[in-house]
């Protein structure tokens, strides 16, 4: 590769921007915000677009559906909250699938394993039978999912059987297990959450229950200030000690975007969205999704475990030679994948108000993979983030919601979703190929 090579470690800013290499994130070479913007533009021209396509896609979806939706209801407060709730299951399942995808593996069983966990939680809280407290029921459901993931992961990592096969078997097995679990108790296969029982109502309200507006504003402010302070002081410290750090302007922009997102979400949620009476406030599903996002982002990007997941996805042999217990890391990844799927399907149960054999476990797997990939996670391992699942989940949820508002039937929704997935992956692959022609081929 004939790149201009600067003569010392303390990079020369002008050379950095002139030679703006496609493969190097601009925040590494830019000293000022203007340089960053130019380097970023050069990078996009070279095909390294990061989350830009999915953000552009989201904006396009919003604009198009707002224009064509009847009475322009797409961007109404009620529909936006509804859209987030519909997308939540996709987002959480996509974050689950991210663990498998980062390793270069796939987990086809997330839909039905998660559904089993949800059925367990819903069954255990029933006042007519077991009457478990809501938190214990959720914990039992998630523990079941984690155990299943650990078994599948062990078979994949220790016996070396392809994850596609193991989790395909899991997909079938847990479809059956779910049906058996559903038929337990006197509910004819339809255990219900919409019961006047405060314990059961907690589960019922995970999705739609709202947080008091005052509390939402305070919580949002605390989160934004905390994150902002963390980013600001972290970057500031790195700049002072001469480490690689983004320009001040970029740090400020990031914090501003986080603050704006927080304010918009809370403001929209606090608009009365009921046709009759009042329905306002941030639904509980928002902090739940953010909690999963925050936890998995910290795990993947700030801990040794997360570093090893990326290392194995990038070069498993190198990871093994570095002394990493590859089998253990992979097993735990499948465990976390299944457990997160349990969270997703418990949210689904809350949305539906119970569990039944109508769960589209197979479809959910495919949407989870699609959401992660649309968001920017690689199918080939080593590249991806939890936030990609959230963004991709919003895209799929947005398409679903928008076409539903148009009164389109499910077959057309499938076709459009499929085309969007194909387009997203193709744009990514083609731009990458254009960028890397000449240099070493990368996936």
């Amino acid at each position: 590769m004939a790149r201009t090579e600067t003569p010392d470690l303390q990079h020369d800013p002008t050379a950095a921007v002139e030679g703006a290499a496609a493969e190097i994130p601009p925040e590494l070479v830019a000293q000022t915000f203007g340089q960053y913007a130019r380097a970023y533009a050069a990078r996009i021209r070279n095909g390294e677009s990061g989350v830009l396509p999915v953000v552009v896609g989201l904006v396009a979806i919003m604009v198009v559906f707002e224009v064509i939706s009847p009475n322009h209801v797409f961007l109404s407060a009620g529909n936006l909250v509804n859209l987030f709730q519909q997308s939540a299951v996709f987002m959480v399942l996509a974050m689950a699938e991210t663990f498998a995808l980062l390793l270069g593996e796939i987990d086809l069983s997330v839909g039905f394993v998660g559904a089993c966990g949800a059925v367990i939680a819903v069954q255990l809280v029933q006042p007519a039978t077991t009457k478990w407290p809501w938190w214990a029921a959720i914990a039992a459901g998630l523990a079941f999912c984690a155990a299943v993931g650990a078994v599948q992961g062990t078979i994949i990592a220790r016996l070396g059987i392809p994850s596609f096969i193991v989790t395909l078997a899991g997909f079938l097995i847990f479809n059956g297990v779910m049906l058996i679990l559903l038929l337990l108790g006197p509910f004819s296969g339809y255990p219900n959450l919409n019961i006047q029982d405060p314990n059961v109502q907690v589960l019922f309200n995970l999705m739609a229950g709202t947080i008091d507006p005052t509390v939402s504003w305070i919580a949002m402010a605390v989160i934004v200030l905390g994150l902002g302070a963390f980013l600001w002081f972290g970057d500031q410290r790195r700049r002072k000690s001469g480490l690689v750090a983004p320009p001040v302007g970029l740090t400020v922009l990031k914090i501003a975007l986080i603050a704006a997102a927080g304010i918009v979400v809370v403001a929209i949620s606090d608009i009365n969205r009921a046709n009759f009476g009042t329905l306002a406030g941030v639904p509980w599903v928002v902090p739940i999704v953010l909690g999963v996002l925050g936890a998995w982002t910290i795990l993947l990007e700030r801990t040794q475990y997360g570093r090893y997941v990326y290392a194995i996805g990038g070069n498993a042999e190198a990871a093994r030679r570095a002394g990493i217990n590859v089998a253990l890391i992979r097993t735990v990844a499948f465990m976390l994948c299944s457990m997160t799927a349990g969270v997703g399907l418990i949210l689904y149960a809350s949305y539906i108000g119970g569990m039944s054999n109508n769960v589209q476990g197979g479809q959910y797997v495919l949407f989870a993979v699609a959401a992660a990939v649309i968001g920017g996670t690689s199918l080939f391992g080593g590249r991806g983030k939890a936030i990609h699942g959230v963004l991709g989940g919003l895209v799929i949820g947005g398409i679903y919601n928008g076409m539903y508002l148009q009164g389109l039937d499910v077959q057309r929704i499938f076709i459009v979703t499929g085309l969007v997935l194909l387009a997203a992956v193709s744009i990514d692959a083609l731009s990458r190929r254009a960028a890397s022609s000449g240099s070493a081929g990368r996936v």
Binding site: E23, L243, V244, A311, E317, A318
Partner: protein, 264 residues
């Protein structure tokens, strides 16, 4: 005894009578090898001579069937690459064992991350990595936070070497470090090898490339069909005699007068 004037003091690593077989195939026969500190030893030999097996026996990947390895004068059993690392033996593999998707700092600390309150201490790792790279004068990378995928072949080799020497290693084994590199890149890597020697490390370079061997090696050891054909200081060889040792395991009569004594 080994006819070698360069190894005046006790060598850092001494291999005596090492044997290794895989099933019916005998890969190494009673191999002796000395790797003194402050010298670059080139390990030469044709394909299948046993260079890789010998390297892997030293670095803990394989366990020898017979023979003894001495480290700083004392007998040691290297049962794993972890054991080797603990002694101060680091191997730079031909495929470099780098993760393309991770950046330079992340690769250099892979498997030995610095933690602070149970989270990764990126600042400290970056400082250490920068220090090591600067001390090796690996200065052509644009940013030590760029992914390894964006580096040239020579830069990748430099990162792999820096990764190996960061842990106070005393012996660095490099497998074909210049294979697949261009002229400039090869120069970078050979200069790096010399700097390691000047720091007092023992370096063993496995190479097919005679230009590189004569350029950096202080000592040359030649394996032929699993036996140590000869090892001596580099000045005792010329291209012709080295090629002859590599291909036949000995010198023909005509050139024997000027050739060094063979090992027992």
């Amino acid at each position: 005894m080994i006819a070698d004037s360069t190894a005046a003091t006790e060598p850092l690593l001494k291999v005596r009578g090492l044997e290794k077989h895989f099933g019916a195939v005998q890969a190494l026969y009673a191999v002796d090898l000395d790797l003194p500190a402050g010298y670059v030893t080139a390990l030469c030999g044709d394909n299948g001579a046993g260079k890789s097996v010998l390297t892997k026996c030293i670095s803990g990947v394989y366990q020898p069937d017979h023979g003894q390895v001495f480290w700083e004068g004392g007998p040691v059993h290297v049962r794993s690459t972890r054991d080797a690392s603990r002694l101060g033996i680091e191997t730079v593999y031909q495929d470099l064992a780098l993760c393309d998707n991770l950046d330079i700092v992340q690769n250099m600390f892979l498997g030995r991350e610095t933690l602070r309150r149970r989270l990764l201490d990126e600042d400290e790792m970056e400082r250490q990595a920068a220090k090591t790279l600067a001390s090796l004068r690996v200065t052509t990378v644009r940013s030590i936070r760029q992914p390894v995928a964006s580096l040239s072949g020579g830069q990748r080799q430099s990162v792999a070497v820096a990764k190996a020497v960061m842990w106070n290693s005393k012996l660095v084994i490099m497998d074909e470090p210049t294979a697949a590199l261009g002229v400039n890149q090869t120069r970078q890597v050979l200069d790096l090898v010399k700097r390691l020697r000047d720091r007092g490390l023992a370096v063993m370079v496995i190479s097919h490339n005679l230009n590189d061997v004569f350029e950096v090696a202080d000592r040359i050891a030649v394996l032929h069909l699993g036996r140590m054909a000869v090892q001596d200081k580099a000045s005792a060889f010329d291209r012709q005699s080295l090629v002859e040792y590599m291909t036949t395991g000995s010198l023909s009569r005509t050139s024997r007068q000027s050739a060094p004594a063979e090992t027992s």
